[in-house]
C-alpha cells in the first residue's frame, strides 16, 4: 500500500532530517486492513533512525506528538484503530520542540 508520511515539529531530526517519505507498506498477514497501530510500529522500525523514545511510548506515540490522517486529527478517527487506505497521508508533529 502506497502511503505518504510527513514529520514535523522537529521529529524529522529522528530520520535524517527528511520530512516527507513515500512508503510502501504491506497489510500484516492474516489481517484485512492496515491500522495506525500496525503502521506506527512499521514507522518506528523502518523510518526512525535515532532516539525512538522521542516518537514512541509504549504501543502509541509519545504524549505531545500530534497525529493527522489525511489532515484530520487522529483523535477523531479512532487513534490506533484508524484504518489506512491507499494514498493516505499520515502526519506526525512534535509539540515538544522549541517555543
Amino acid at each position: 500500500m502506497q502511503l505518504t508520511v510527513e514529520f514535523g515539529g522537529g521529529l524529522e531530526l529522528l530520520c535524517d532530517s527528511v520530512k516527507i517519505h513515500s512508503v510502501n507498506v504491506d497489510v500484516p498477514n492474516g489481517e484485512e486492513k492496515l491500522t495506525m497501530g500496525d503502521f506506527l510500529m512499521w514507522v518506528s522500525k523502518n523510518l526512525i533512525k535515532e532516539r525512538p523514545e522521542m516518537f514512541i511510548k509504549g504501543d502509541t506515540v509519545r504524549p505531545g506528538v500530534l497525529v493527522l490522517v489525511n489532515d484530520c486529527d487522529w483523535e477523531l478517527t479512532g487513534q490506533l484503530e484508524t484504518t489506512l487506505e491507499e494514498q493516505d497521508v499520515v502526519v506526525f508533529i512534535s509539540t515538544l520542540h522549541g517555543g
Binding site: 500530534l66 484530520c72 477523531l76 522549541g98 517555543g99
Partner: protein
C-alpha cells in the same frame, strides 16, 4: 461507498459548531469536534477575549512580541497582528529577537524570524549577546562546558529582552508562553516549594514593577491547538532543539503534564487554576528592587546577576554566581558564599527560547 468513503475520515462526523463541514480536530479544552474554519474562529476569539478581559493592552501602546522563530511566538505574532487589525486595538507591534550566538541553531531560527518580519509586516529588532555582553553562547559554553550554560542563557536572555524592549521604546513585551508551559512552571514551583513564585508564575501580566511589563496572551491556549493552528495555516516556524538544553528535570515535568493531558485534557487548566488559588499569605517576601551599580539594570543586590556572571567569565572564573545564589554584592564577590536562595525557573528551558 462514495459518500461513505468521503466521510470515512473523522468517522464522518460533522463539526459540532457549524454542523456543516467535516470535523478536523478534537479540542483538548472542550473535547468538541470542530472543522478548520470554526477552529480558527474560536481559537482567535478566545485569545481576543483573554486580551480584553485582562486588559492586556491599551490603545496606542507599542508592543514587542518576543520572537524566537518557534511555534508559540510565530503563532502569537500572526494572531496578534490579525486581532490588532480586526478589532482595531490601535497597537504598534514589533518583533524582538535575541541572538545568543548559537551556531546552527539561533542563526537558523533567526532566518525564520526575518521571514516572519516580511510575512506579517512587523518591524524586527535583533539584540545579540555578543553586542550586549561581549560573549556569544558558543564562547560561553566553550569556557564553562555544558553543565551550567542554562543559567547564563536564562539570566542573559531576560536582561537582553528588557534592553531590546527599551531600545524599541515599547510599553510591554508579549511572550508566547502557553497553557502547557504555565502548568509546567506551576508544577516545578510546587516541587521546589517556591510559594512566592508559584502565585506569580500564573499571573498573565508580570513585571509591572520592573522596567517593562510582560504579558502572556496564550496563558489559556493549549499547545496542541497552537501547533494545529500553525499546521493548518501553514505558518513558517522553526523547530529544532537547542543544542545546549540539557534540562532533564523540566523535561520530566513536561512529560508528566502531557501524560495527564492524555488521560484528562482539562488537567492543564486545572493545574493553572490551582497555581492561581495558591495565594497563601506567607512571610516570603520578594527582595526589594534596586538597581545594579554596574550596569543600571534592576537588581536586589549591588550587582545584577548578569554582571556577576559576566565578571566570572571575564576573570576566567565562570563558576562565580552559578547555582544556589541569587546575585551577590561586590563584597560577597571577593568571597563568594552561597545563600541558598532558589534560582528563577520562570523562563522556559534554554532550548525553547521563548523567554
Amino acid at each position: 461507498m462514495d459518500t461513505g468513503e468521503k466521510l470515512r475520515r473523522g468517522g464522518g462526523r460533522l463539526c459540532c459548531i457549524c454542523n456543516d463541514r467535516r470535523a478536523a480536530l478534537k479540542r483538548p479544552k472542550t473535547l468538541q469536534q470542530i472543522c478548520r474554519e470554526c477552529f480558527y474562529a474560536v481559537f482567535e476569539e478566545e485569545i481576543h477575549q483573554v486580551i480584553i478581559k485582562n486588559q492586556l493592552f491599551k490603545p496606542g501602546e507599542r508592543i514587542a512580541i518576543g520572537a524566537s522563530g518557534g511555534k508559540d511566538s510565530t503563532v502569537l505574532a500572526y494572531v496578534l497582528s490579525e486581532l490588532n487589525k480586526r478589532y482595531s486595538y490601535g497597537l504598534d507591534l514589533f518583533l524582538l529577537s535575541i541572538d545568543e550566538g548559537i551556531t546552527g541553531y539561533r542563526d537558523d531560527s533567526l532566518e525564520t524570524v526575518k521571514r516572519n518580519e516580511l510575512q506579517y509586516g512587523l518591524p524586527l529588532k535583533i539584540i545579540s549577546y555578543k553586542d550586549l555582553y561581549g560573549w556569544t553562547m558558543d564562547e560561553i559554553v566553550k569556557m564553562i562546558g555544558l553543565k551550567n550554560n542554562c543559567t547564563f542563557c536564562g539570566v542573559f536572555r531576560r536582561q537582553a529582552l528588557d534592553r531590546g524592549a527599551a531600545l524599541l521604546k515599547v510599553d510591554k513585551v508579549a511572550t508566547g508562553h502557553n497553557a502547557d508551559d504555565i502548568a509546567e512552571t506551576v508544577l516545578l514551583n510546587i516541587l521546589r516549594g517556591d510559594i512566592a513564585r508559584l502565585s506569580r508564575c500564573t499571573s498573565i501580566t508580570t513585571g509591572e514593577d520592573g522596567p517593562i511589563p510582560r504579558c502572556k496572551p496564550f496563558k489559556y491556549t493549549y499547545e496542541k491547538e497552537i501547533v494545529m493552528y500553525a499546521y493548518f495555516k501553514k505558518l513558517d516556524y522553526f523547530s529544532t532543539e537547542c543544542i545546549y538544553s540539557p534540562n532533564a528535570y523540566r523535561g520530566f515535568a513536561r512529560e508528566f503534564i502531557k501524560d495527564l493531558e492524555r488521560i484528562r485534557p482539562r488537567a492543564i487548566l486545572d493545574i493553572i487554576k490551582s497555581g492561581e488559588d495558591f495565594r497563601i499569605s506567607t512571610s516570603t517576601k520578594m527582595p526589594e528592587q534596586g538597581t545594579c551599580e554596574r550596569c543600571g539594570y534592576i537588581s536586589s543586590q549591588k550587582w545584577c546577576k548578569a554582571c556577576v556572571l559576566l565578571e566570572g567569565l571575564n576573570r576566567g572564573m565562570p563558576k562565580l554566581g552559578i547555582g544556589r545564589t541569587r546575585g551577590m554584592s561586590s563584597d560577597q564577590m571577593k568571597n563568594p558564599k552561597p545563600t541558598g536562595a532558589a534560582k528563577n525557573i520562570e523562563s522556559k528551558q534554554c532550548g525553547s527560547l521563548d523567554f
